[in-house]
């Protein structure tokens, strides 16, 4: 086992890994995302609050975090260990809303800075006789850690009274989990009534998973049943593979809880002795530190791949969403192309106008109708693509991300944009037509607008506008007509591409804003392998 010296390379590798973990994001609401997010937060807390500071400063005092279910008597236990009321205990639950850290005055500097638990604002209460109404309430929205000093605690040991791990207040639960992550020694408090509860067992299993230094306290045991309860609990622990965990039993005494009295020193003496021994005996201390620290380091080798696979799942989901959009727009684009070729634009109004042209319809009207019809075709393609995307996304759980669901609810915008693009095309086409007409030397030059209308008809009308092509050739000559058709066709293609592309980008924009990439996965794994090489 590696001893706990300060090792810069390891620390570097660790902080690189920490940054990778901090950068990991799981914005898509996949099945595993909440868990991945929680894992990431927990891992980050463990790295920031425990592993990095501990490896950097192995000489810092041991931190024992007292955790457990609501009403297990954590505060009472801490108070009794310290020998005075440092943490408020009460019959009302949840009691401890502000975590309290107690340490020897000499150790105060270790905790007053932001070395551990940097997220928590420190509140330092000057030594005074605490009374019930003097609970410091932190500024709203900021989480607070109260630091108390007590001469009665030996130097090199700090106790942290955490909120309930199963508190009704979700924030408390998160905070409790974060505090547990910062511990060198996990002190799990349970009671005679609770020792079979699922929640504390979950915590015990987690502690086992991380191989943290763990000690359990069976609190509030009525003295008549001490033997039996303790035996039962022991059996359960053994069954869970935690038989070797030190176990302490605190009997239920009249002063034990419901009033916040202190337990007599004898009740907690054995626990206190054990803790003091861990803190002051160098060998025991080193072992405690190494065990927990290496437990966390070891756990990285399974937790990092988990995060990485969650990141990969995010990327895969994003890719699926993107490809759904691409597929929809591609197929719609192909359809628009096909329809243009078959002359679908020259239908309805436009067709009627064309029939009437030039006797009963002016060139301007024909152009108007054609342009409008083209805009309708494009709008139809875009909305159809959107519909297909919606359909495909409905089957994807990832598409429920709030950023993706509240799109701009005005499809008129698309209509507006398409209208603009189509009108611009018309204008440019008219300019081309004028160029051609001007190039003609003939005195009786044809009307440029009529030429433009004929070109538009040829371009948009497909086969059914054959006679328009003839008319055009008649007016401009075969050569000029061909040139104009080519230029106009290219222009049409450009505008068409641009419209479809813009709409596709607009659709993809929120997805891209979520910034889900393939890299985090590889980076996480790479950081882990660097770390493992350093160990």
């Amino acid at each position: 086992m590696v001893t706990l010296d300060v090792r810069p390379q390891l620390l570097d590798a660790l902080s690189a890994l920490r940054d990778r973990v901090a950068a990991a994001r799981f914005p898509l609401p996949l099945a595993g995302a909440p868990r991945a997010r929680a894992n990431r937060d927990e891992l980050l807390a463990q790295l920031d609050d425990y592993l990095v500071p501990r490896l950097r400063q192995p000489e810092a005092p041991l931190l024992a975090v007292v955790g457990g279910s609501t009403g297990a008597g954590k505060s009472t236990l801490v108070n009794s260990l310290v020998g005075r009321r440092v943490s408020e205990a009460s019959v009302l639950r949840p009691t401890t809303r502000t975590p309290v850290l107690v340490c020897h005055p000499e150790d105060h500097h270790w905790f007053s800075g932001m070395r551990v638990l940097p997220d928590l604002t420190r509140v330092w209460m000057p030594h005074q006789e605490p009374s019930d109404d003097l609970l410091p309430t932190g500024p709203d929205g900021r989480r607070v850690l109260r630091i108390e000093t007590a001469e009665t605690l030996p130097p090199g040991l700090a106790l942290l009274d955490a909120p309930d791990i199963d508190s009704l207040l979700a924030d408390n639960r998160v905070l409790a989990a974060e505090l547990m992550c910062a511990a060198d020694i996990w002190v799990m408090v349970t009671t005679a009534a609770r020792y079979a509860d699922a929640v504390p067992w979950h915590l015990l299993r987690t502690a086992k998973e991380y191989d943290a230094t763990l000690v359990t306290v069976l609190d509030r045991v009525p003295h008549q049943v001490v033997g039996e309860v303790s035996r039962q609990y022991g059996a359960l622990l053994t069954k869970a593979g935690l038989g070797d965990v030190p176990r302490f039993t605190v009997p239920e005494l009249p002063e034990s809880a419901w009033g916040g009295g202190l337990l007599p020193a004898s009740a907690v003496a054995s626990l206190r002795t054990w803790l003091v021994h861990q803190a002051q005996d160098p060998a025991a201390r080193r072992q405690v530190l190494a065990r927990t620290a290496h437990g966390v380091l070891d756990s990285l080798s399974s937790r990092m791949p988990e995060l990485a696979s969650a990141a990969a799942a995010q990327y895969a989901a994003a890719l699926r969403l993107t490809s759904a959009v691409d597929g929809a727009y591609d197929s719609e684009y192909a359809r628009v192309r096909g329809r243009l070729q078959s002359g679908a634009v020259l239908a309805g109004d436009a067709l009627k106008r064309w029939r009437a042209f030039p006797l009963d319809c002016t060139a301007g009207e024909l152009l108007d109708a054609l342009v409008e019809s083209l805009a309708a075709l494009l709008l139809c393609a875009v909305t159809a693509a959107d519909e297909r995307v919606d359909d495909a996304w409905r089957r994807e759980p990832a598409s429920d991300a709030p950023a993706l669901t509240d799109r701009d609810p005005l499809p008129d915008n698309a209509e507006h944009r398409i209208g603009l693009a189509v009108r611009r095309w018309r204008r440019e086409l008219e300019e081309y037509a004028e160029d051609e007409v001007r190039a003609l030397e003939r005195g009786a030059a044809p009307d440029p607008e009529a030429v433009a209308a004929l070109v538009a008809t040829v371009l948009l009308g497909g086969r059914r506008a054959r006679s328009a092509g003839e008319g055009l050739a008649e007016r401009l000559g075969a050569h000029g007509a061909l040139r104009l058709r080519d230029r106009g066709g290219r222009l049409l293609g450009e505008h068409l591409d641009r419209v479809m592309h813009t709409e596709r980008e607009r659709r993809l924009a929120p997805l891209e804003a979520l910034d889900v990439h393939a890299e985090p996965q590889a980076e996480l794994i790479a950081a882990l392998s660097v770390l493992q090489k350093e160990r």
Binding site: L92, D197, V199, V229, D360, R464
Partner: protein, 734 residues
């Protein structure tokens, strides 16, 4: 005193006794009476003797009863047709008095010396029956349908009112009687033998509003099957099933489960209420592994069957007259914990909590704020507040005023969970503190429980809360709170888009202009016509007159416009609808739109103007004539002048010049006035053309798209109303 364990009743198949019945066929019409006498004798002599016999006894009850309730079923078993008839005559008559005092009637009658006690109850007939009795004393005690008659009738009577499902009812009844007999028979204490010939408890009857809500929910589920997936409807289906199952079972009983965390003292409270140690208590956690039932009165066996609690876990409380009277009809279930590491406990709790009529949540000062209790159970069940008791146990562990503090905090938490608290006489959950060990507050709970059970309303209230819950969960798929339906504007817009797609406006304008053009041509001055004709000959393409563009148009309708129109209208129609229904509307629209463009093509070809020249109005010849006259005037005037110039005619400048001038001026004048005159008809002609196309397109669209969409909307509205019935009436009834 110890509690009594029910035995499994698996050996009821012995029907040999039935063969005896055929012996008595001669006594037509009296079988019941003699049977009754037998019964009296039998209870007198044979009680306390033989459990095996009793089992037989029950088996025959089963056989007989099936005959009684279905007279056409197997009359030979009874050997007489009059007996069932007899029964039916007696029932209504007995109903009024038998119903109310059934409880007290049963006590003495079923006791060890029930025989003599029966005399007054049976009236004159009993005496008559007693005369015959001696002849049949050794008879197998199988045919005691008389006893059935007497005690069974009151219970059956309400059943006869319910004519809905006779078959199902029969089954339920038989099962109940068999089980219940067993439950009572195995009792060791004499009190529990009361049930040897117990009354079948009346089934639960939901009140009118609840029944109609259940019906509405059933119909709603039926209507929604095609639109919603099974998972969405599963909850509602389960509620219906459970409501149906509960309805068939006893309405005289209230099943109350005691639930809570491990170590809160559920079993302790259970034992305290039962007055005897039934459920094992201990420090070992979790203690109770399987639910245990305890029934205060008979007839609850089927109810307990429904919970899946085996016979070996059924108990009777210690009977004392006072407790019996107070908690009559209570079936108490001690549940395992819901928060221990043993997952199967949680599953059992979840399963049974869904089936019981009411719940007593036991919390203790240590655990009352556990997240798992509040988040997993109390919050989701907030709607069931009326059938909830929340009991703060172990107050003896709290010093003095702390109990009040904790109780207040508990109330606060419950309030945050959204549970209505039954204070100040409002309906809601009952919260109280007690100590099962010292007995503090247990009396109060017992009183409240007695009152609660006595009301016999828990089952209905639970079902009502279930329906509320199911309705609330279904709300998002039925209600959005927005206005739904297809507005008139949306319909008009759809018609407009279709008209665009077929080009109605353009066609109208073209028609109008063509008409005008023709009018001009027809009424123009001949010189003009001559000029035009020449132009035409020179370059035919320019005027388009010779173009043959009237080829067969495939796809004359703009497909993209039709598609867009359908999409827009279906979006409009489905706006404000819950997703599944919106989807259905869209599908209906898309389905209708298939073939719509082709239909519009065909329609446009049919209703569009015939190709070629527009019709000519009657006044054109006159105009042409006038124009011709003008030309003639010009010609005449010209000739005249020419004649004068040629000296053929006498020089007279005035008249020919005048004539010519008249002709020259008159020609354009006629043309102009014709043009003016043609304008109106031309517009009318164009508008007609446009309107006919527009109407045809709109009609086609309506038939193919709007009507299916409207039908779908109507279906939704129907379902929405049904949903309103599921929720609304409930609110009204409260």
């Amino acid at each position: 005193m110890t509690a009594v364990t029910d035995q499994d009743h698996t050996d009821h198949t012995d029907h040999t006794g039935r063969s005896d019945h055929t012996d008595h066929t001669g006594r037509t019409g009296h079988t019941d009476r003699t049977g009754r006498a037998d019964r009296a004798d039998r209870t007198h002599h044979m009680d306390h003797t033989d459990h095996g016999h009793s089992a037989d006894d029950r088996a025959h009850e089963e056989g007989d009863h099936s005959v009684t309730d279905t007279p056409t079923g197997e009359p030979s078993g009874e050997g007489t047709a009059t007996a069932p008839e007899d029964t039916r005559h007696e029932r209504p008559a007995k109903r009024p008095d038998a119903g109310p005092d059934r409880g007290q009637d049963r006590g003495p009658a079923g006791g060890p010396d029930g025989g003599p006690d029966e005399e007054p109850a049976g009236g004159g007939r009993t005496r008559e029956r007693a005369e015959r009795a001696p002849t049949r004393v050794p008879r197998d005690p199988g045919t005691d349908r008389a006893a059935d008659d007497r005690t069974g009738a009151p219970a059956d009577a309400p059943a006869d009112d319910r004519t809905d499902s006779a078959g199902a009812w029969d089954d339920g009844l038989i099962a109940r009687r068999v089980n219940e007999g067993t439950g009572a028979e195995q009792g060791v204490s004499p009190e529990s033998r009361v049930g040897a010939a117990p009354a079948a408890p009346a089934p639960l009857a939901y009140d009118g509003p609840l029944r109609s809500r259940l019906d509405a929910l059933r119909e709603l589920v039926g209507l929604s099957r095609a639109r919603l997936d099974n998972r969405t409807l599963a909850e509602a289906g389960r509620v219906l099933d459970e409501a149906g199952a509960r309805r068939k079972l006893s309405g005289q009983h209230t099943v109350v489960a005691i639930a809570g965390a491990t170590g809160s003292g559920k079993s302790q409270l259970f034992n305290t209420l039962a007055g005897v140690t039934i459920s094992e208590t201990g420090v070992r956690r979790p203690t109770t592994a399987a639910p245990i039932a305890c029934s205060w009165s008979d007839g609850a066996a089927t109810l307990i069957d429904r919970l899946g609690i085996p016979g070996r876990l059924r108990r009777r409380p210690v009977q004392s007259a006072e407790a019996e009277a107070q908690l009559d009809g209570l079936v108490l279930i001690d549940l395992p914990d819901h928060d221990s590491a043993a997952v199967q406990h949680r599953e059992q709790v979840d399963r049974i909590l869904a089936l019981v009529d009411a719940v007593i949540w036991v919390v203790d000062p240590e655990k009352y704020a556990d997240a798992v209790l509040h988040e997993r159970y109390l919050r989701p069940m907030a709607g069931h507040a009326e059938v909830m008791f929340i009991v703060l146990n172990q107050v003896d562990r709290l010093p003095g005023e702390a109990a009040e503090l904790v109780l207040d905090d508990l109330r606060r938490l419950l309030d945050e969970d959204g549970i209505a608290l039954g204070e100040y006489g409002e309906p809601g959950a009952t919260v109280l503190a007690l100590s099962a060990i010292t007995g503090d507050g247990v009396t109060e709970l017992r009183e409240l429980l007695g009152q609660f059970v006595g009301e016999r309303g828990a089952a209905s209230r639970r079902v009502a809360a279930d329906v509320d819950g199911a309705a609330a969960r279904l709300r998002p798929v039925y209600v959005t709170g927005q206005r739904t339906g297809l507005s008139e504007e949306a319909r008009d817009e759809f018609a407009g888009r279709l008209a665009d797609a077929v080009g109605a406006t353009a066609a109208g304008e073209a028609a109008e202009r063509a008409w005008l053009r023709n009018a001009n041509r027809a009424c123009g001055t001949p010189w003009l016509r001559l000029w035009r004709w020449q132009q035409d000959r020179r370059e035919p393409a320019a005027t388009g007159r010779l173009q043959v563009r009237t080829q067969a148009d495939e796809e004359a309708t703009a497909r993209q416009r039709v598609e867009q129109a359908v999409r827009t209208v279906s979006d409009r129609a489905s706006a404000g609808l819950p997703a599944p229904w919106g989807q259905a509307v869209r599908e209906a629209a898309v389905r209708g739109a298939q073939g719509l463009p082709e239909a519009l093509d065909e329609l446009a070809a049919r209703t569009g103007l015939p190709p070629g020249r527009p019709p000519r109005p009657g006044w054109w010849p006159a105009a042409v004539l006038a124009q011709a006259a003008m030309t003639l005037l010009q010609v005449v005037g010209g000739l005249w002048l020419v004649g004068q110039i040629a000296q053929v005619m006498a020089p007279n400048l005035g008249v020919p010049v005048l004539l010519m001038l008249a002709g020259i001026v008159g020609g354009p004048l006629v043309e102009w006035s014709c043009k003016m005159a043609a304008r109106g008809p031309a517009r009318r002609y164009g508008q007609d053309a446009e309107r006919s196309l527009r109407d045809a397109a709109a009609g086609c669209g309506r038939a193919r798209v709007l009507d299916p969409v409207a039908a779908e909307l109507l279906r939704y509205r129907e379902v929405r109303e049904q949903y309103g019935r599921v929720t609304g009436v409930g609110a009204g009834a409260r």
